[in-house]
């Protein structure tokens, strides 16, 4: 009974938080991305006089906003140790469905609904396979990548569907207002980034996602419905692919069998360059957003000075490898020094 007196209610002094050190902020991945972004802007501005032009920059966002929207949902998937490589194929399938509906005379709002719906259904199919049968998502979505794209190619043959109503095309091509010509797709991305950021970093759902990524077993034991959440993340990914399909189909005004080909790897590049751990459990929406700008502006700047696309692709590959190896290299460097 004497023990309760010795009960160490405040045996140790524990601070509320770790001491804040400048080096912690400077070593953050986001800080490095900001530096990288500034460097990209400066180099581009030096190379081309047309780079720092509001209208040019604004139009440049057309080229990456769809992928950026996909990257937001992909971030959540990768944080919980999953991945979806079928997103570009989902876009093809959703675009195909919208194309058939447009040929049948469906109005714009119905086309949007069909695009989003097909995307969500494809995502649900992925999610059901992954969580229902316990299959690895990378294998499942490599399979559905071929499946979805294959269906689209068989149904479409080598033709293209181009009969889209003007109001539908305006979503992908249009600006918010005429006075400030900012693309709708870019504004959508910024809005979604804010929502995703708040949900991931401020809410219960976000905490659960990080816990699932850091230790799925402990998350399950703590009462988190791990598989249900994973399923809905695949649905969300599909829904975002549907949205990207709406924007992309409207922007190019047509559905072709090879629409969005290779998007999945560019999206994964954005996410990984954004500092999201491919092993799960770590990453920020801010980082991914910065990575979107780094990659988007690099591509835009290089295309301004007529660097061929294949060279830009090489550069993106180098950026990706550099970004995933940077932490390991830095660690080795720091260890060597101490």
């Amino acid at each position: 009974m004497s023990l309760s007196n010795a009960s160490p209610a405040s045996r140790y002094d524990v601070a509320d938080r770790a001491p804040r050190r400048l080096s912690d902020y400077l070593l953050r991945w986001e800080t490095i991305l900001v530096v990288l972004l500034i460097a990209v802007v400066i180099v581009n501005a030096l190379i081309s006089p047309f780079f720092l032009d509001f209208y040019n920059l604004s139009d440049a966002t057309f080229n990456f906003s769809e992928k950026a929207i996909l990257a937001l949902a992909m971030t959540l998937l990768i944080i919980v140790r999953d991945i979806d490589l079928s997103i570009a194929a989902i876009i093809a399938l959703a675009s195909l469905a919208m194309g058939f509906a447009a040929e049948a005379g469906a109005p714009t709002f119905a086309l949007i609904g069909i695009g989003l719906g097909v995307g969500a259904l494809c995502g649900a199919f992925n999610g059901a396979l992954v969580t229902g049968f316990g299959l690895p998502s990378i294998v499942v979505t490599i399979g559905t990548m071929s499946l979805f794209r294959g269906i689209a190619q068989v149904a479409l043959g080598d033709q293209a569907i181009t009969k889209y109503p003007a109001s539908f095309q305006a979503i992908g091509q249009g600006y918010i207002t005429d006075k400030a010509p900012i693309p709708i797709s870019f504004v959508l991305f910024l809005g979604l980034a804010a929502v995703f950021g708040i949900v991931l970093h401020r809410t219960i759902i976000g905490r659960k996602l990080f816990a699932m990524g850091a230790n799925p077993v402990a998350a399950l034991f703590s009462g988190i419905a791990v598989n249900r959440i994973r399923f809905w993340l695949f649905v969300l990914m599909g829904l975002m692919a549907g949205l990207a399909a709406v924007l992309l189909t409207g922007r190019i005004g047509s559905t072709r069998p090879n629409i969005a080909l290779g998007f999945e790897l560019e999206v994964v590049t954005m996410v990984v360059l954004g500092g999201v751990s491919i092993a799960g459990g770590a990453g920020t929406i801010l980082g991914v957003t910065l990575a979107v700008f780094v990659l988007g502006l690099t591509t835009f700047g290089l295309s301004l000075v007529n660097v061929p696309g294949i060279v830009i692709s090489i550069l993106n590959g180098v950026l990706l490898i550099a970004s995933i190896s940077a932490p390991a290299v830095a660690q080795r460097f720091l260890r060597g020094r101490s």
């Binding site: 309760s4 045996r11 524990v14 809410t203 219960i204 034991f221 009462g223 770590a282």
Partner: protein, 575 residues
């Protein structure tokens, strides 16, 4: 059983190759006893010559003891915000077992990691066999003859015993090809020396945990290791396997190995060790011969508290029945498990590994589907199909495997503490840092979690403190029924006492507790009722004080095993 005297142990009794060089192995000059024969006599002769070379230092210094073959002097190691080791001295002598004792977080693991080259000390000197030891990686440790046998064996399940033993230093033949014949014959020789009952080609996954330990020891011997570190080697072993391990330790002593034995179990320490060194908060607080010390003294040294207080008994009047389990069963692991649990009551669930205790509790908690049975809470049937259902019904489950099932290592203390009760720490789905911190301080303080700050990552805490955080997480969920599955497994005595005391406190607050434990003193000291499981079924129930350790153990092994008294002994050896 008393520890063996040094007299007999300096002379190897086996005919295997003698240790490569051991000028410092023995300090005593007694002639060999009759019957040990010519081999022993010739060895004695060699040793005598060695002694003569540096007798001036040894004889005066050691007075009957062998000189240390490993010496740590003033070793310190700092991590950001933590002083892991401070000015630690340690001597290991050939043919002796030195027990390293201390609470979790006292610095034992850091010390082991320094000796095996994973960490480098910030200050201090390490001397192995007379030469300064500078260790930058596991290979240096091997080269210096240091081998560690870990709590959880890290080996290759899909490879053979021989491949495991020689991994990294396989004998090579012409053209750099592996010389399988040599590897097998050397393995066979090592296994014979250790009296192993399996052969070199057996796949590792076919072996028991105890046999895997044997493989690790064989691996150490294959490197001619002279210093063997055993870090909690018995935590996964049955009483009988522990006996086998002790026989091997005795053999290693006879082979002149120095052994550093780390354990939380005092009966084992007193059984097997010759000397002891105690760490507390990274400092060495004492050392000496086991023969000269009492268990109570060691406990006091470790925690500054005496052992009578380890099992605080609280008399709590049990309240109404809160949980009724009727005939629970799942597909294969348990069947017909029924019990009633009252508010303020502690039920102890005892059984051997594989008896189905954890599985039954996980079924109750909604982690695995039940194929039969009903669960009533407060008399009303509860349908628990997921842990979330269980939490809503007022259950909490502190799992057995802390690292995998309990903590999220990359998360800080705060995020771990609130993980099972996020809703209570949020408004409209948005988490409130202030509420989280309040809960963390409340339970972190009550459980005396030792940390630099509440954001410290769980991976940086000791096992005992991690366990406190897991318990805190479940208390934060406001449970009425708390299931603790091996809550003190592998944690130090101070944390253990804190957990035990806390259980008593919770019971007196009316929380109903199920304590799954393999430690008899814990079960007998704390439980109001003891249920014993065997092969998935509840085979015996005892009220508090009704059963002796032997009765409980023989129920757990269902009287089939002739080794019953042996198993009982390990439980009884504790007060």
């Amino acid at each position: 059983m008393t520890s063996e005297t040094c007299g007999a142990c300096a002379l190897p009794l086996h005919s295997g190759p003698p240790p490569s060089s051991d000028p410092t192995s023995s300090g005593h000059l007694l002639p060999p006893s009759a019957g040990e024969g010519a081999l022993a006599a010739s060895l004695f002769f060699e040793i005598s010559i060695d002694m003569a070379v540096d007798a001036s230092t040894q004889v005066t210094e050691t007075s009957g003891l062998s000189a240390p073959i490993l010496t740590l002097t003033g070793v310190s190691k700092r991590f950001p915000g933590v002083r892991a080791l401070h000015n630690v001295n340690l001597n290991l002598r050939a043919g002796e077992v030195t027990a390293l004792i201390g609470e979790n977080g006292a610095g034992k693991s850091t010390l082991v990691k320094i000796l095996t080259g994973i960490y480098q000390p910030d200050e201090g000197e390490i001397v192995v066999s007379g030469a300064p030891f500078i260790c930058t990686g596991p290979r240096d440790a091997w080269a210096a003859g240091i081998a560690a046998i870990h709590q959880e064996t890290v080996m290759f399940d899909e490879l053979s015993v021989a491949e495991n033993i020689f991994m990294g230093h396989m004998p090579l033949g012409a053209g750099g090809r592996i010389d399988w014949a040599a590897m097998r014959s050397r393995t066979a020789e090592l296994l014979k020396r250790l009296e192993a009952d399996f052969d070199a080609n057996t796949l590792l996954k076919r072996l028991s945990v105890a046999q895997k330990h044997l493989v690790e020891i064989a691996r150490a011997l294959s490197h001619d290791a002279r210093i063997i570190i055993m870090d909690e080697p018995t935590s996964a072993l049955s009483a009988r396997e522990i006996g086998d391990l002790f026989a091997i330790i005795a053999q290693l002593k006879r082979r002149n190995c120095a052994i550093l034995f780390i354990s939380h179990k005092f009966d084992e320490i007193f059984h097997v060790a010759d000397r002891w060194t105690c760490l507390r908060d990274g400092e060495e607080v004492g050392h000496g011969a086991i023969a000269d010390v009492a268990q109570a003294d060691l406990v006091r040294l470790m925690v500054g508290r005496s052992i009578e207080q380890v099992y605080p008994k609280r008399d709590v009047k049990p309240g109404p029945v809160v949980l009724e389990a009727e005939d629970l069963a799942n597909a294969s692991e348990f069947d017909g498990v029924s019990f009633q649990l009252r508010a303020g009551q502690i039920i102890g669930l005892y059984g051997l590994v594989g008896a189905g205790r954890s599985e039954a509790m996980q079924g109750l908690f909604g982690l695995s589907p039940l194929t039969r049975g009903r669960v009533k809470i407060d008399g009303r049937e509860a349908h628990i199909r997921s842990p979330a259902d269980a939490i809503r019904a007022g259950l909490a489950y502190v799992p057995e495997d802390r690292q995998i099932q309990g903590v999220v290592l990359p998360f800080g203390i705060r995020a771990n503490m609130t993980l099972a009760s996020l809703k209570a720490h949020a408004r409209d789905g948005f988490l409130s840092l202030a509420k989280e911190l309040q809960t963390t301080k409340k339970f972190g303080g009550r459980l005396a979690v030792k940390a630099a700050n509440w954001e410290q990552k769980l991976g940086e805490l000791s096992g005992g403190n991690q366990q406190k955080v897991v318990i805190g997480k479940w208390l934060a969920s406001g449970p009425r029924i708390l299931i603790l599955d091996e809550p003190t497994k592998g944690i130090d005595i101070g944390s253990k006492a804190a957990v035990h005391e806390f259980m008593g406190e919770l019971a007196s607050e009316g929380i109903a507790i199920i304590l799954v434990s393999s430690e008899l003193p814990e079960i007998m000291g704390l439980a109001d009722e003891i249920m014993v499981m065997h092969e998935g079924r509840v085979v015996q129930r005892f009220a508090r004080g009704q059963a002796s350790a032997e009765m409980i153990v023989s129920a757990a092994i269902a009287n089939e095993d002739a080794e019953a008294p042996c198993a009982g002994e390990s439980g009884e050896a504790l007060p």
